[in-house]
């Protein structure tokens, strides 16, 4: 059963709202709305990053005439694929963070952002070598 308490009375006050089981034991809590909305904005920032990666892949293929065709195709395909994966991963992370907020668990670690940095660095090196 869901009960709405007094949210925002203190920092994190909305977390006081609790969903209680029949026995009265707290199993899940309504997160502070600020955290939910911040999670949503972070998801949107990742989606914009994914969109930028896809657009970079297409722009590279369409506009970079000086790069050899195999290199151009490979890098473009890599950027587009990474963009799509980034969008899927962003959605999965948004969901996991939302669950963690509701259950008052620590937020899950973000491992793939490091991998994304490496992938973009490798793509940059490939471009430098082949231009």
């Amino acid at each position: 059963m869901r009960s709405a308490g007094t949210p925002g009375a203190v920092l994190g006050g909305a977390a006081e709202r609790q969903n209680e089981s029949v026995g009265g034991e707290a199993v899940e809590e309504e997160p502070d709305p600020r955290f939910s909305l911040a999670n949503e904005r972070t998801y949107l920032a990742w989606i914009r990053t994914a969109l930028a990666l896809i657009a970079a892949g297409v722009a590279l293929d369409a506009l970079a005439g000086r790069i050899s065709e195999p290199a151009r195709l490979t890098v473009s395909a890599a950027l587009i694929s990474v963009g799509a994966l980034c969008a899927l991963a962003a959605h999965s992370r948004w969901r996991r963070v939302q669950v963690a907020l509701r259950c008052r668990r620590p937020l899950p670690l973000l491992r793939w952002s490091v991998a994304l940095g490496y992938v973009i660095a490798v793509i940059g090196v490939v471009l430098i070598v082949f231009v």
Binding site: A55, S81, Q98
Partner: protein, 115 residues
């Protein structure tokens, strides 16, 4: 050094601004998607008109639907915040947006390798 405010202090935030910032982030993202979709379709049209039309036909309606629903969602969130009601998860919004972005990728990959 910045310190967190003690919990006994009155609430330092305006709930309406949170909702406004989130709505603006949605608008920025959907606008980016809309512009990117048109630009990518234009670039694809030189190679395959069919794929360019598909690129407009699949993500564009999703984006326009989200833009249309965004106004009423912003108002609803603001009302829920002001009335201290729990927020509903943005599951439908995030799923639709994710698939609108992901749908572009296979079409672009087809453009790269098929044409």
């Amino acid at each position: 050094m910045t310190q967190w405010a003690p919990s006994s202090m009155p609430e330092p935030w305006d709930r309406g601004l949170q909702s406004e910032r989130t709505t603006l982030a949605w608008v920025r993202t959907l606008l980016s998607l809309l512009i990117a979709d048109v630009a990518l379709a234009r670039l694809t049209a030189d190679r395959s008109a069919f794929l360019a039309i598909l690129m407009l036909a699949i993500p564009m309606p999703m984006t326009l639907h989200l833009l249309n629903a965004l106004g009423s969602r912003g108002t609803r969130i603001e009302r829920q915040l002001r009335d201290s009601l729990p927020l509903r998860d943005a599951w439908k919004f995030t799923s639709t947006l994710t698939w609108a972005v992901v749908a572009i990728a296979p079409l672009e990959l087809m453009t790269l390798f098929v044409t």
